[in-house]
């Protein structure tokens, strides 16, 4: 195995992430997955949008495209169709991927284009200062919901299953080893794979909702008795990872896995 530091742009450090933010754990977990897969470093392209999680692509030594807010799956679609030999991945956040970029995400899933989307869900807009996101739980405090959020939140995995994603999983930043395994599994999956990675934002979500700093938030997330894991649908449910306890109502593990035709664009099909 290679030292994961091989995949870092150490010259670009220090990174912009706050102390206690689990996005750094996710970056490490992602690089461990690339390492497990032993992918050709020159053939990995990682596309991101705008937000805290999207800044990760600045520090990883692949071909990296830091695009516009929410549009990463669309940039990645052009990239993959033009260069099918590339391993195309997307790093996005919950605001980036589910609010402004929701349309691009569901259509990339529907097409079943061969790419892996990692959505880092910290339940809030961090980069802009803690505003409510489509993932902010009802009742939670954000800078734009000072009296508590009155909107219901998206379940990203249910949304992606509904949109036709052929691989859907949820993992916790608090379980980095499992996270790496699932990311590697998703990258190996032929077609569109979506992995929601439950991360944290101690700086805003933690502070506004008085749930502690990074360590407390991750510990709470990883508690084995934190909640009952309810499968989204018994019929769809493929592989639950029972070892990971989860926040209430959050099922972790691989939630959908199906082999379907992969979209490669309208092109001459007899090319080898």
């Amino acid at each position: 195995m290679t030292d994961v530091k091989t995949y870092l742009r150490e010259w670009a450090m220090p990174h912009v992430l706050c102390p206690g933010c689990a996005h750094g754990i996710v970056m490490r977990g992602f690089l461990e997955a690339i390492n497990q897969l032993q992918l050709d470093q020159d053939k990995v392209a990682v596309v991101a949008g705008i937000g805290c999680s999207s800044r990760i692509v600045g520090y990883i030594d692949f071909c990296t495209l830091h695009g516009t807010h929410g549009r990463a799956p669309a940039f990645a679609t052009g990239l993959k169709l033009a260069r099918p030999d590339l391993h195309v991945m997307v790093i996005t956040g919950d605001g980036d991927g589910l609010a402004i970029g929701g349309n691009h995400l569901i259509h990339a899933a529907r097409r079943n284009i061969d790419m892996t989307v990692m959505l880092l869900n910290n339940s809030i807009y961090g980069m802009t200062g803690g505003q409510a996101a489509p993932t902010t739980p009802a009742g939670a405090v954000a800078s734009t919901t000072p009296a508590g959020n009155t909107e219901p939140n998206f379940d990203a995995c249910k949304l992606m299953i509904g949109a036709g994603a052929s691989y859907v999983a949820r993992v916790l930043a608090a379980n980095p080893i499992e996270m790496s395994k699932v990311i590697a599994d998703g990258v190996r999956h032929p077609g569109f794979s979506f992995i929601e990675i439950v991360s944290d934002c101690p700086e805003y979500y933690g502070r506004y909702n008085k749930v502690g700093g990074g360590a407390e938030m991750l510990t709470w997330m990883a508690r084995r008795d934190a909640g009952v894991a309810v499968p989204l649908s018994e019929k769809r449910f493929v592989e639950h990872v029972p070892s990971s306890a989860v926040p209430p109502g959050m099922v972790t593990g691989v939630l959908e896995r199906d082999i379907r035709p992969v979209f490669t664009g309208v092109r001459k099909q007899d090319q080898s």
Partner: protein, 377 residues
């Protein structure tokens, strides 16, 4: 040369793109540009290219930019409402310096406007539609044959200057069929690739040309692309000196080559007392009006820019020194006339003849303007 055949403007655009080496099309349906996509999907696969219909115009240009970074020559086509949505990524392509071609077949606006009628209402949006300071290269053909030629030129300029290039024409040109002889071979310009080892590659370091070499993703050069202000390593910075220098270089690579980029058809101006300034389909009407005025013994000429941006200021200034009056005719309520006034700088009287009712300006209408000794407004 192939034989002459009846070709629609939008088909000529697709054929020009293929001749120029376009091998990626990403788009979203919209009247009156959809025929471009419909021709591309039939022709691109056999030419070794890829077609994708995206979920909207924002995604279309994003996919085009992604494909271009993967080494493709990529384009999209749209009309006003979609062009509005594309402004975000036109700015990204300027900042990240990604070659690509955007076609806007203009229809009546604002908003949904007149979907099947011509307009020239997007000429200022093409210049200033995306936020921030940025250069623009915008080409404006007047005929089916010129749509082909300028589509080729749009790709070549995009590759040469690592920038988005906009091809702007109206619904009439898009849907007109003319008998044209399209060349089979055209001059093709390819982007400059780096000639240094990957370890020595600085993605945004430019030589005196102002245009940094651009490798494709997957070719061994691992680099970062961002819409944030960035340094020569391509990495984000908030250092004002670096950010300012980047913008000046991005501007300079176009402004320093204005003579190479700008072009205008200068018709019968040598002895003219009056000049039309008209582009696109109005340029066709104005040319006919010039001939009719000449038959009546009135010395009229025509400035017909084929690049709207950068604006052909030198050509306009030279013509203004010759004539007494410049009549600006355009299918909007007065957009390019301000530029004409600026370039004319008082050397000649500038009057406008505008309409924005979805009807093309006719030759007899323009003859009438000359005879009346003024402009419509």
């Amino acid at each position: 040369m192939s034989g002459a055949r009846l070709v629609q403007g939008n088909e000529a655009c697709a054929r020009g793109a293929l001749a120029a080496g376009c091998n990626f099309y990403g788009g979203y349906p919209i009247t009156p540009s959809s025929e471009i996509a419909e021709h591309m999907v039939r022709m691109l696969p056999d030419a070794g290219g890829v077609f994708v219909q995206m979920e909207d115009e924002i995604a279309s240009l994003a996919a085009v930019i992604g494909a271009s970074l993967a080494g493709s020559k990529a384009m999209t086509a749209t009309s006003g409402p979609g062009f509005s949505l594309m402004q975000e990524h036109i700015g990204f392509a300027v900042m990240a310096e990604v070659p690509c071609v955007i076609v806007d077949v203009m229809r009546g606006g604002p908003s949904t406007g007149l979907p099947t009628s011509p307009s020239q209402g997007d000429v200022m949006q093409a210049r200033w539609g995306t936020h921030g300071d940025h250069p623009a290269i915008v080409l404006a053909p007047s005929s089916v044959g010129e749509v082909f030629d300028l589509t080729v030129r749009a790709f070549n300029l995009a590759e040469r200057f690592r920038t988005p290039v906009i091809l702007l024409y109206d619904e009439v040109i898009g849907h007109t069929r003319e008998s044209v002889q399209l060349p089979e071979k055209v001059e093709i310009v390819d982007r400059v690739r780096p000639d240094v080892a990957p370890a020595d590659f600085l993605p945004k370091a430019a030589d005196a040309t102002g245009v940094p070499p651009l490798p494709a993703f997957g070719d061994g050069y691992r680099f970062h692309v961002t819409g944030l202000s960035h340094d020569e390593r391509g990495f984000p910075t908030d250092d004002g000196h670096v950010a300012g220098a980047l913008l000046e270089r991005i501007h300079g690579k176009v402004s320093a080559h204005e003579d190479e980029i700008t072009s205008a058809d200068m018709f019968m101006l040598d002895d003219a007392d009056v000049a039309f300034f008209a582009y696109g389909i109005v340029g066709r009407s104005a040319r006919e009006a010039v001939l009719r005025c000449r038959e009546a013994g009135i010395k009229v000429g025509l400035i017909r820019p084929t690049t709207l941006w950068p604006f052909p200021s030198r050509q306009v200034a030279e013509a203004a020194a010759q004539v007494d009056r410049v009549i600006v005719a355009e299918m909007n309520l007065g957009q390019m006339i301000g530029e004409v006034e600026r370039a004319t700088a008082g050397r000649a009287e500038v009057v406008g003849h505008m309409r924005a009712d979805g009807e093309p300006i006719t030759p007899s209408e323009l003859v009438g303007v000359v005879s009346a000794g003024g402009g419509g407004h």
